[in-house]
C-alpha cells in the first residue's frame, strides 16, 4: 500500500488529467483535503482530479484524532486498490470487495498505531448475521481473517469466525484488482498461502457475500 501513497487513480491517467504541481506519471502527488463541517461522507474519488480538487476528502464529522486517522487510512486503502487496477465502475457493481478491504486496513493500521486506546472499530464484531446486508458492503471480512476473536462464540446470532492469522499483506496480494471477484479472492488466499484455518474462510466469504 505504501508504494502507492504518492499515486492517484488509474482513471485519471486514462483521462490524462494532472494537477499543476504533478511532475509526471511516476511522481504524481496524492491530494488529501480536510473539512470540519458535515457535508458528506469522507471519500476517495479519482475523478475529482478533473475539477482539480482533492481525490481524497476527509470530513471530521465529530471524530477525534484517532477517528480522523482511521478514516484517512480507509481512503488510502482505496487509493492503493485503485492504483492496482480496481476502478469506479467495479465499485458501483460491487463495493463489497473494496469496502471490506478498506475496513480491514483501517482497523489493522489504526489499532497498531493507537495502541492503548482501546479497540478501534470494535463495532464490526457486534453485527448479527441477519444484519450483514445492512452493512452495505462494509463487512468485517478482512478483520475476521486477521484476528483470533470469534464473535459467534458467545452469541450464536453472530458469525462463527474460526479463521485467523492472515496478514494484511497476504490479503492484499490475493485482493481482486482489475479482474477477479469475491470468490476469486477466497480461492487466491487459499492457493497462495498456507494457513491452518483456511478451511474456515469458506464460511466467512459465504456469510459476508
Amino acid at each position: 500500500m505504501l508504494r502507492s501513497l504518492g499515486g492517484i487513480g488509474s482513471l485519471a491517467f486514462i483521462l490524462q488529467t494532472k494537477l499543476c504541481d504533478e511532475k509526471g506519471l511516476l511522481e504524481q502527488r496524492l491530494h488529501i483535503g480536510g473539512r470540519v463541517d458535515f457535508f458528506s461522507a469522507s471519500h476517495f474519488f479519482d475523478l475529482n482530479v478533473i475539477a482539480q480538487s482533492a481525490t481524497v476528502l476527509i470530513h471530521r464529522n465529530g471524530k477525534d484524532s484517532r477517528g480522523i486517522f482511521g478514516t484517512t487510512i480507509h481512503e488510502l486503502a482505496h487509493v492503493s486498490h485503485w492504483d492496482s487496477g480496481y476502478g469506479d465502475i467495479l465499485w458501483v457493481v460491487n463495493k463489497r470487495i473494496p469496502e471490506s478491504w478498506a475496513v480491514g486496513v483501517e482497523w489493522q493500521i489504526t489499532n497498531d498505531i493507537y495502541q492503548g486506546y482501546g479497540i478501534y472499530n470494535n463495532k464490526y464484531q457486534l453485527v448479527d448475521i441477519s444484519e450483514i446486508d445492512d452493512l452495505k458492503g462494509y463487512t468485517p471480512l478482512v478483520i475476521d481473517l486477521i484476528d483470533d476473536y470469534n464473535q459467534g462464540k458467545f452469541n450464536s446470532l453472530r458469525p462463527n469466525d474460526q479463521a485467523w492469522g492472515y496478514t494484511l499483506s497476504e490479503i492484499e496480494r490475493a485482493l481482486p484488482t482489475s479482474s477477479g471477484n469475491w470468490w476469486a479472492w477466497r480461492d487466491d488466499l487459499k492457493k497462495m498461502f498456507d494457513n491452518p484455518t483456511e478451511e474456515n474462510i469458506d464460511y466467512l466469504f459465504t456469510t459476508y457475500k
Binding site: 483521462l15 488529467t17 458528506s40 461522507a41 469522507s42 471519500h43 474519488f45 475523478l47 475529482n48 478533473i50 475539477a51 470530513h59 464529522n61 465529530g62 471524530k63 477525534d64 484517532r66 477517528g67 482511521g70 478514516t71 480507509h74 481512503e75 469496502e99 475496513v103 483501517e106 492503548g116 486506546y117 482501546g118 479497540i119 478501534y120 472499530n121 470494535n122 463495532k123 464490526y124 457486534l126 453485527v127 445492512d134 452493512l135 452495505k136 462494509y138
Partner: protein
C-alpha cells in the same frame, strides 16, 4: 474542453455524492435503565484524560445511540467519547457505582446494556 470535463465531472459526482451521503451503514447501541431510580452516567478514558458528557435516564427508560460505520466510522458507543475505560453511575443522586472492571457489559461495549437492580445494590451511598 475544460468546460466539458467539468460538466462530465458534476454529472458523475452528483449521484455518487448522494450515494455516499445516504448509503452509509449505522449501528445502534441501546442503554436501558431497568431500575426504579433516576440514573446518570459519565464515562472516562484514562488515556488522554477525557470525560464524556453526562447521560441521564429516567426510571425504566431507554436511550438509543446511532453510530456511523463505513467511510466515517465513529468509534464511540454510548458515550460522547470513544474507548471509555471507567464509568460512574449515580442513582437518584444518592448512590454511586464506579465501574472499572471490563467484565461489565457497559465497558465491553455490548450493543444493548441494562443498568440493573444488581448495579444499584452494588452502589455505595454518597456521603454529603
Amino acid at each position: 474542453m475544460k468546460t466539458k470535463k467539468i460538466i462530465i465531472y458534476f454529472l458523475l459526482m452528483l449521484p455518487l455524492y448522494s450515494c455516499w451521503y445516504t448509503n452509509q451503514p449505522t449501528i445502534t447501541y441501546t442503554l436501558v435503565n431497568d431500575t426504579d431510580f433516576d440514573v446518570s452516567l459519565v464515562g472516562y478514558r484514562n488515556r488522554g484524560t477525557s470525560v464524556s458528557d453526562s447521560i441521564f435516564l429516567s426510571p425504566n427508560s431507554r436511550l438509543e445511540f446511532e453510530r456511523q460505520m463505513g467511510e466515517d466510522s465513529d468509534s464511540r458507543s454510548f458515550f460522547s467519547i470513544a474507548s471509555v475505560d471507567s464509568v460512574r453511575i449515580v442513582f437518584d443522586s444518592k448512590k454511586l457505582l464506579v465501574l472499572t472492571d471490563s467484565a461489565h457489559a457497559l465497558l465491553l461495549e455490548e450493543r444493548i446494556v441494562k443498568i440493573t437492580q444488581e448495579d444499584y445494590n452494588n452502589a455505595v451511598p454518597i456521603e454529603n
